[in-house]
């Protein structure tokens, strides 16, 4: 197995699939769909292979592939896999095919399949890259398919949303690019590992100079904050997720926002521990804003997808909250490293779990939407539970998982985050609990309006229960939720050693 | 000294007469006479070759050309001479001529010219020939070329309405011959 360049295959498989689809001129819609599904499943298979070959004990990146790419810029084609990226790769592997199956009817068009594969390929590229150059390449590349997918198959306001999404994100990452240019200028290297070492012993900040380091930190922070919507920079999120077609919004919420958080964990934190510590209080406030205001804004929404968008903003803000709490606490004398590891493990777990639950919920909304002929308002349905009990059951599980009900995967992640954050900063944890309450309120309002009550709105007329392909896309997610809820050890064993090694960051240089 | 004054007076008289006369042919012929006077001045100054050249060129050739020109450009009805025009013009001419003459005379009188009464230098034709073919060989060739080109040009210009001899200018410009020379700019 060692011979096969597994990681490159993992990245290239979807792109190859996209290219193949683009070339398949005369193929019938059915074959296009199947080809697309095959390729996106191939990523899952490859991810599984990677999982098998992965040795959790080693915290350094494994299955590393490093080739010289651009000698002038000291840029290497450098792929690596450690706990964090493995979890996210698995998530992408799962969500990719599920998203495709969720929008099975639109997947009949060749371009849709190709673009979705491209999206998945770029996500994988981001998670596996260890060199800024092609990390940023995939980072930007992910926007292109997303833009077209939203624009071509989106809802009524799709064009505006697509443009806002791309321009907003690109402007953010433009700052990041400038920042990294400065880093390259100062240090001459773009490799994350080397930069992390420089960051760890503080020489990166020294090289950039005090103000320079702070500016560069801000640039990178801005780029990442826009992507993983950190609270004030999230206004593109609701409209984009609302307008995107089901499969795409599933992928966007599950994987794309995780790219931002991944960026925080992979780039921002190791490179700029001191700056992150200094600005942690502000960031904590923002994360709290995201948690609380995200939940409460969701309460106001009538469009289900916008509501879910805010819920995913809320969940992602939990991850960031944990990270910022850890960053805030680094260097404090009486710091319990156990709380820090709990918070970090919680973040990673939360990323995975939220990916599953948000994707499942969006899939359910997609089903509702398809039944109601495109309508997805809160008041357009009623008593769906009587009309489609199985569907209601599956959606219920997804809902309660994202609610954080114990026994399902959502709870474990949130419990660990709260355990960590409480240990590091009790006040913040207390306020964050409001978020939990808010999430419960709007999700239950959604459940009550749509599923409970007399049959009304779209559900009065024939509201078929969930059928083959929709079931195929929902079922694996639900099974995974329950499995991870009961036995989180499956995932945690992968990231535990990594997280404990991260605890080393806790002491400031 | 006397010869010089005599020659000068004759030449000036014939020139003035040439300029004043109404009849073109007479003025042309008188002018030829003044050119002959000049040749005489050259002879007096000792440059025979130049004198003979002067006679050969001016009296022989240029006067012929002038006469031909005068003949060819006979106006259908005799030119109505508009008195005020010529009077005014003549006045202006007088004034400017007088001014320029004054300047020359002033210059001549005031400038200390070497009044060396050196013996009249003579230059032999052989010496001239060597000079021409030596230092001024280039100039000689150029003048030769100039003459040929000028004369060819003159022929082309003065050709009658018939197409000019040889390749007509229009062909060269790729337009059907005979169309009037219209500036491409101002389309009708």
């Amino acid at each position: 197995m060692s011979g096969l360049p597994l990681l490159s295959a993992l990245v290239i498989a979807p792109w190859a699939g996209a290219a193949l689809l683009a070339l398949l001129r005369g193929a019938s819609p059915r074959t296009c769909r199947l080809v697309a599904l095959a390729f996106s499943l191939s990523t899952l298979v490859l991810a599984a292979l990677a999982l098998a070959a992965f040795d959790p004990a080693r915290t350094t990146p494994q299955l590393v592939e490093r080739h010289v790419w651009i000698t002038a810029l000291n840029v290497h084609y450098h792929l690596g896999l450690d706990g964090l990226s493995l979890v996210l790769v698995l998530l992408t592997g799962v969500i990719g095919p599920v998203a495709l199956m969720a929008s099975w009817r639109t997947a009949r068009s060749r371009l849709f399949g190709a673009l979705l594969l491209a999206l998945q390929g770029s996500a994988l590229g981001v998670f596996l890259a260890l060199d800024f150059f092609h990390w940023f390449l995939f980072w930007e590349l992910s926007l292109v398919p997303a833009f077209f997918l939203i624009k071509l198959w989106g809802g009524t306001g799709a064009t505006r949303a697509a443009y806002q999404f791309v321009v907003y994100t690109i402007s953010g990452s433009a700052f990041m690019l400038v920042a990294f240019a400065a880093i390259f200028a100062a240090t001459g290297s773009l490799d994350f590992q080397q930069l992390a070492q420089l960051g760890a012993d503080g020489s990166l900040a020294a090289k950039l100079g005090v103000d320079g380091a702070r500016l560069v930190f801000l640039g990178v922070l801005l780029g990442l904050a826009v992507k993983a919507p950190l609270w004030p920079l999230h206004t593109w999120l609701p409209s984009t997720y609302a307008e995107a077609p089901t499969g795409v919004s599933m992928f966007l919420t599950a994987v794309m926002s995780k790219m931002g958080v991944y960026g925080f964990l992979r780039i921002l934190w190791p490179l700029f521990p001191q700056q992150l510590h200094d600005s942690a209080p502000w960031l904590l406030l923002l994360a709290l804003g995201g948690v609380v205001l995200g939940a409460w804004a969701a309460l106001r929404q009538t469009d289900l997808k916008r509501m879910l968008a805010y819920s995913s903003l809320n969940h992602v803000s939990y991850c960031l909250l944990a990270l910022f709490a850890v960053a805030h606490a680094t260097g404090r004398p009486g710091l319990s490293s156990e709380a820090a590891t709990a918070a970090l493990a919680g973040t990673i777990l939360q990323m995975f779990n939220h990916g599953l639950s948000a994707a499942a919920l969006f899939c359910c909304i997609g089903v509702l939407e398809s039944r109601a002929g495109g309508k997805r308002g809160l008041h357009d349905f009623g008593g769906v539970r009587t009309a489609a009990p199985i569907f209601a059951g599956l959606c219920g599980v997804a809902l309660f998982s994202s609610l954080g009900l114990p026994g399902l995967n959502g709870f474990v992640g949130e419990f660990l985050i709260f355990r960590g954050v409480f240990g590091l900063n009790p006040g913040v944890a207390a306020v964050a609990c409001l978020g939990l309450l808010g999430t419960a309120m709007f999700l239950l309002t959604f459940w009550q309006r749509v599923f409970h009550g007399p049959r009304g709105g779209a559900a009065t007329v024939a509201f078929g229960d969930v059928r083959g392909i929709e079931l195929a896309s929902l079922a694996p997610l639900v099974v995974l939720m329950i499995a991870l809820g009961v036995a989180p050890q499956l995932l945690l064993r992968l990231i535990n050693p990594l997280v404990t090694s991260w605890a080393g960051h806790l002491v400031l240089p | 000294m006397m010869a010089l004054i005599l020659i000068a007076l004759v030449t000036l008289a014939s020139a003035a007469a040439a300029m004043l006369l109404r009849n073109l042919i007479h003025s042309a012929l008188l002018l030829t006479a003044s050119w002959a006077g000049l040749a005489a001045f050259y002879l007096w100054a000792g440059a025979e070759f130049v004198a003979f050249a002067q006679v050969l060129v001016y009296v022989g050739a240029i006067s012929m050309v002038v006469l031909f020109a005068v003949l060819l450009t006979r106006p259908p009805q005799p030119m109505p001479v508009t008195p005020p025009n010529t009077l005014g013009r003549a006045l202006v001419a007088l004034i400017t001529g007088g001014a320029v003459l004054g300047v020359f005379i002033g210059a001549i009188v005031s400038s200390p010219l070497p009044a060396t009464a050196a013996p009249a230098p003579t230059v032999s034709v052989k010496q001239l020939g060597l000079e021409l073919a030596g230092r001024h060989a280039g100039a000689l060739l150029i003048v030769g070329a100039l003459l040929t080109v000028a004369l060819l040009g003159a022929v082309v210009l003065a050709a009658t309405d018939r197409e000019p001899v040889g390749a007509s200018l229009d062909d060269v410009r790729g337009r059907p011959p005979g169309t009037p020379l219209q500036k491409s700019g101002d389309a009708p």
């Binding site: - | 300029m19 060129v57 060819l72 202006v92 009464a117 230059v123 000028a150």
Partner: protein, 105 residues
């Protein structure tokens, strides 16, 4: 008058020059204007010969050579001038210089 012969020659040439100038200015017939110009040229030749004759080193004969060339050029100029006059005549049917002012082709 204490004029030396050289100054006399110069006077002669300047007189001839001004005569040619006045002729050129006053006559409206193009040919005569050309002839006036010819006169001016000859006045210049007179100057040359005069200065050759009374100049410091006559043996160089540059004056004479120059006059020869001047005569040649004047001949060429007269030929072309008169050809032009004929061409103008063809267009204008009269050769009054004042009317030959159309600068366009």
């Amino acid at each position: 008058m204490s004029l030396s012969s050289l100054q006399l020659c110069l006077l002669f040439s300047s007189a001839l020059f001004c005569l040619g100038l006045m002729a050129a200015l006053s006559r409206s017939n193009t040919i005569l204007v050309l002839l006036g110009v010819e006169l001016m040229l000859n006045a210049a030749n007179v100057n040359f010969i005069a200065f050759w004759r009374y100049g410091p080193n006559p043996e160089a004969a540059t004056g004479v050579v120059f006059v020869l060339f001047a005569i040649a050029v004047a001949a060429a100029e007269a030929a072309v001038g008169l050809a032009l006059v004929i061409a103008i005549y063809r267009h204008q049917k009269n050769i009054r210089l004042q009317e030959a002012t159309r600068l366009k082709g």
